[in-house]
């Protein structure tokens, strides 16, 4: 009987925590790619709305993830054969985000338990989906690790631990740097509130990354009027070739 009462009391105690909710703001929900686009920075900020006073323990943590459109990729490995380096093994990864950033208010492993990570696919290796490697490849994780390593080098995958600042257990903010090599699409943005490694609240929104102006026009033309686009490229080439020749013969005179 006492045990049941204790369990009920625990449930009641947990209730206020479950009613914590994220109210979010973004510095902008669209990123326009124009001709002089050179990367961008997005400010993610928000507050936590509560129905009841928050419990002091366990402490609350905030995790922010931004992920670009996913696509399948092939990772190849080189090996030395007959004295030269050739691509031998290849692993197809079913879906890898073109961009992925995780920002946390503390160490990621501290803020999120492993089971919750599996459920919500938060950490970088979990955000990549690889169903299965061919049977002849022994350790396929090294291929996923290589993908993360290469993408991290060009800032396309980021793990920013401790970059989310939380004030008074209520206000939080962080900024995420988007690199210059950004592809178009909807960038899914998620905010997790965690306590003791468990997700207590979750919020989801999108940042729209779009080409604008001349970039938009050329991109559309190349897809929809590809023949015309090809002719346009050739015309520019021929005209430029003729122009340089004409200018140089004028200079000689």
């Amino acid at each position: 009987m006492r045990r049941i009462l204790l369990a009920a009391a625990l449930c009641l105690a947990a209730l206020p925590a479950a009613s914590e909710e994220v109210v979010l703001g973004l510095s902008s929900d669209t990123v326009s790619i124009n001709t002089n686009f050179d990367g961008s920075e997005i400010l993610v900020f928000g507050a936590i709305k509560r129905d009841a006073p928050f419990p002091a323990e366990p402490p609350m943590h905030v995790i922010v993830t931004v992920s670009g459109p996913s696509e399948p990729v092939t990772v190849r490995r080189k090996e030395k054969k007959f004295g030269i380096w050739v691509n031998t093994d290849a692993v197809e990864i079913d879906s890898a985000p073109s961009f992925y950033a995780v920002s946390t208010s503390t160490l990621l492993g501290f803020a999120l338990s492993d089971t919750e990570d599996v459920r919500h696919r938060v950490s970088i290796p979990r955000a990549i989906r690889s169903v299965g490697a061919p049977a002849n490849i022994v350790n396929s994780e090294t291929f996923t690790q290589a993908l993360i390593r290469i993408k991290s080098r060009s800032n396309l995958y980021q793990l920013n631990e401790g970059t989310v600042s939380v004030d008074e257990q209520t206000l939080f903010r962080t900024s995420i740097a988007l690199p210059a090599a950004l592809t178009e699409g909807d960038y899914k943005t998620r905010i997790f509130l965690t306590r003791g490694g468990a997700v207590v609240s979750q919020y989801e929104t999108s940042i729209y990354v779009r080409k604008v102006g001349m970039e938009r026009w050329l991109f559309t033309l190349s897809r929809e009027q590809s023949f015309l686009y090809g002719l346009l490229s050739l015309a520019i080439a021929i005209f430029a070739g003729w122009g340089a020749s004409a200018v140089f013969s004028l200079l000689r005179r």
């Binding site: 790619i33 124009n34 001709t35 002089n36 686009f37 050179d38 990367g39 696509e71 399948p72 990729v73 092939t74 990772v75 190849r76 490995r77 080189k78 090996e79 030395k80 004295g83 030269i84 380096w85 050739v86 691509n87 197809e92 291929f143 290589a146 993908l147 390593r149 290469i150 993408k151 060009s154 210059a180 090599a181 950004l182 592809t183 178009e184 001349m214 970039e215 938009r216 050329l218 991109f219 190349s222 897809r223 590809s226 023949f227 686009y229 090809g230 002719l231 346009l232 490229s233 050739l234 520019i236 080439a237 021929i238 430029a240 070739g241 003729w242 122009g243 340089a244 020749s245 140089f248």
Partner: protein, 303 residues
């Protein structure tokens, strides 16, 4: 100044591209090579996706070759007749080459074959040319008259045609075969083929070096224009902004290159081209032999 490329979807430094275009343009005007075999690896290096680099490079070569060929037309160093014969062979060869390429792709390991092809061809061509031009330069220094072209079995073939600008009266069969072979190789290796065409014209057909450059440029225009259209309509990988940046530098470079080329002796031109070919060959060979710092590489699906 950073510029975002709409098709490649990366941001690059505009001045860097102008400079690269200029350097490759100079080489193009001097030697009659398109420069694709130099430019494409450079574009990979600055982070342009390979498919976009190859397609856009073709478009840039159209511009620099056109600029170069106009300068050569003024000097009357273009053999239109020979160029047309080579072009006919080249287009047939390119079609064959695409078939061979697709067959090899189905077998796997096409990348390796392309690289080996490069190393072997560049090595052999560059080496032979280097030795020959070195001998020619020595002979000139000693005061020996350069040997006139030999009369060999090539001159016994039927279907003879007079190539006035080149000063040749030979059968159309050898130029056609040269055109086909270069076309096949160009399609497999993904370049205009100038660096194979130029030595072939000099050594196999016996054309004078000065005429070779203009004639090579003339036929490269058509081959690369064809490639550009093919890439633009099937793969959508021609980046017009990247092309404009490269070709502005390229056309200016080509004009300068042509003027440098005119001032130089034929042997000097040949030995410089040979050295350039050998350097590229050496770089590719090292890539195959040395352990790369990153053993893994990423490719998007379908490229």
């Amino acid at each position: 100044m950073q510029i975002y490329l709409p098709i490649a979807e990366v941001s690059v430094n505009a001045f860097l591209l102008l400079g690269l275009g200029g350097i490759v343009g100079i080489l193009s005007g001097m030697f009659g090579v398109g420069g694709g075999f130099l430019m494409t690896p450079l574009l990979f290096f600055i982070g342009i996706p390979p498919a976009v680099a190859v397609a856009t490079e073709a478009n840039q070569i159209v511009a620099s070759s056109f600029s170069g060929v106009l300068a050569h037309f003024k000097r009357k160093t273009v053999d239109l007749r020979m160029g047309t014969v080579l072009l006919v062979g080249g287009l047939v060869g390119a079609a064959l080459g695409v078939m061979v390429f697709n067959y090899l792709k189905a077998q796997g390991q096409v990348d390796l074959l392309v690289k080996l092809c490069y190393v072997v061809f560049l090595g052999v061509i560059g080496g032979l040319m280097f030795l020959e031009s070195l001998n020619a330069i020595r002979n000139v220094k000693k005061g020996k008259a350069p040997k006139r072209k030999k009369h060999n079995w090539i001159h016994g073939l039927p279907l003879k045609m007079r190539f006035r600008v080149s000063g040749l009266y030979i059968s159309v069969i050898p130029p056609l075969i040269v055109g086909v072979l270069v076309g096949v190789l160009a399609a497999i290796m993904g370049v205009g083929g100038g660096f194979i065409m130029v030595p072939a014209m000099i050594y196999l057909l016996g054309m004078p070096t000065k005429v070779v450059v203009g004639t090579s440029l003339f036929q490269i225009i058509f081959v690369t224009a064809f490639t550009t259209m093919l890439h633009a309509t099937t793969n959508f990988t021609v980046d017009i902004v990247l092309a404009v940046l490269l070709l502005v530098g390229g056309v200016i470079g080509a004009q300068i290159g042509t003027r440098i080329g005119v001032k130089m002796k034929a042997e000097q031109l040949r030995i410089l081209l040979a050295m350039m070919v050998l350097i590229v060959c050496g770089k590719l060979a090292l890539e195959l032999l040395l352990q790369p710092s990153e053993l893994y590489s990423i490719a998007a699906e379908g490229h």
